[in-house]
């Protein structure tokens, strides 16, 4: 059944790569590196986010994690998490390109420390410069249509609006905004990034016509991250198939699905 399900997942292209999985997952917050490895494998995700941080001179702590990721034959998407200005994000991106050997960058410039909301002005500024430097920018943004427009204007081919606040697990707070962005940019790759807490949230994002979903906490903080990775794998495929199949239009009133002609015992004494 699993193989059959995977076969139904169509190929898509993002950042110049043809992939079969539309699930992008983070590598943080797992109970252990081996649990992370198992969860990534079970999820069938082909893109995994990573980061850069200061490490003390004698530490080798980052190496074990990085060795696992390198051995997995997956695409890495470094982020600029922790950046609060375009300048910091650009420097982090340049460092990530050298360390990870990829021109892909998940651009994340935080504008508010309380809700970790992206700074739209600095994000657009950084995106414009990074694209000129040859990066494939995956910008993390809010669900604001005008910000998405500005990102597209400076050359972003991928836009990643949030579902809700990072790590909140609240799901899609403003589905209408996400629909508006999808309608406005039918040719861009759109990925819902952040806020997804349950598999049904991922399905909902995919049903809206989003090309993929990116999440971390929902899997890593589950009681059983490996099983949850499997749940998200199935949820993303289900949502995509639902979108492709074409969801029925909502109706204001009830409408019987069983034929009314020939209904037995109905009005027989009238």
């Amino acid at each position: 059944m699993d193989e059959e399900l995977n076969m139904k997942s169509d190929l898509w292209e993002i950042g110049g790569k043809r992939l079969s999985s539309r699930l992008l997952i983070g590598s943080a917050l797992y109970p252990s590196p081996s649990n992370m490895e198992d969860a990534i494998k079970v999820s069938k995700a082909q893109i995994v986010t990573v980061s850069l941080r200061r490490q003390a001179a004698g530490e080798g702590g980052g190496n074990a994690f990085w060795e696992i990721i390198k051995s997995m034959n997956i695409e890495v998407l470094p982020n600029t998490a922790g950046s609060h200005s375009a300048k910091e994000a650009i420097t982090t991106a340049e460092m990530a390109r050298e360390v990870f050997g990829t021109h892909w960058i998940k651009l994340e410039v935080i504008g508010d420390q309380y809700n970790l909301q992206p700074d739209p002005f600095e994000t657009v500024r950084a995106a414009e410069i990074l694209i000129k430097e040859g990066f494939e920018v995956f910008p993390y943004t809010t669900d604001d249509l005008v910000v998405a427009k500005r990102l597209a204007d400076v050359g972003c081919k991928i836009i990643m609006p949030w579902g809700s606040m990072i790590g909140s697990g609240k799901g899609l707070m403003n589905p209408d905004n996400l629909i508006a962005i999808r309608k406005q940019f039918p040719d861009l790759q759109l990925v819902v990034d952040a806020g997804i807490g349950k598999p049904s949230h991922a399905t909902q994002a995919m049903e809206l016509g989003y090309d993929g979903v990116l999440l971390n906490s929902a899997i890593a903080l589950a009681q059983d991250p490996v099983k949850m990775a499997d749940a998200f794998r199935v949820a993303v495929v289900a949502g995509r198939l639902g979108y492709e199949a074409g969801v029925m239009k909502e109706r204001e009133f009830a409408s019987p699905s069983t034929p009314t002609v020939g209904t037995p015992f109905w009005h027989q004494f009238d």
């Binding site: 980061s51 850069l52 941080r53 490490q55 003390a56 530490e59 190496n63 470094p78 420097t91 340049e94």
Partner: protein, 67 residues
């Protein structure tokens, strides 16, 4: 000797060191890292040319898990 900041810690180092020499002096063992001086990226190809100055803020970053 000059004082610089390395990953937020003040260090006293010899004057005139380039980035390559600085990494050796620090005995930095983490494989796969990148360097920024005063929040500007210094590519590997520039290590021998970039001389560390008094008060420089040096960041040496290595891979970690990320979301």
């Amino acid at each position: 000797m000059i004082k610089v900041s390395v990953n937020g810690e003040v260090k006293e180092i010899e004057e005139g060191l380039n980035i390559h020499q600085l990494i050796e002096v620090l005995e930095y063992k983490v494989k796969g890292f990148a360097v920024a001086v005063n929040t500007t990226f210094v590519p590997i190809s520039e290590y021998h040319k970039k001389i560390v100055q008094e008060g420089d803020k040096i960041d040496i970053l290595a891979p970690v898990q990320g979301g």
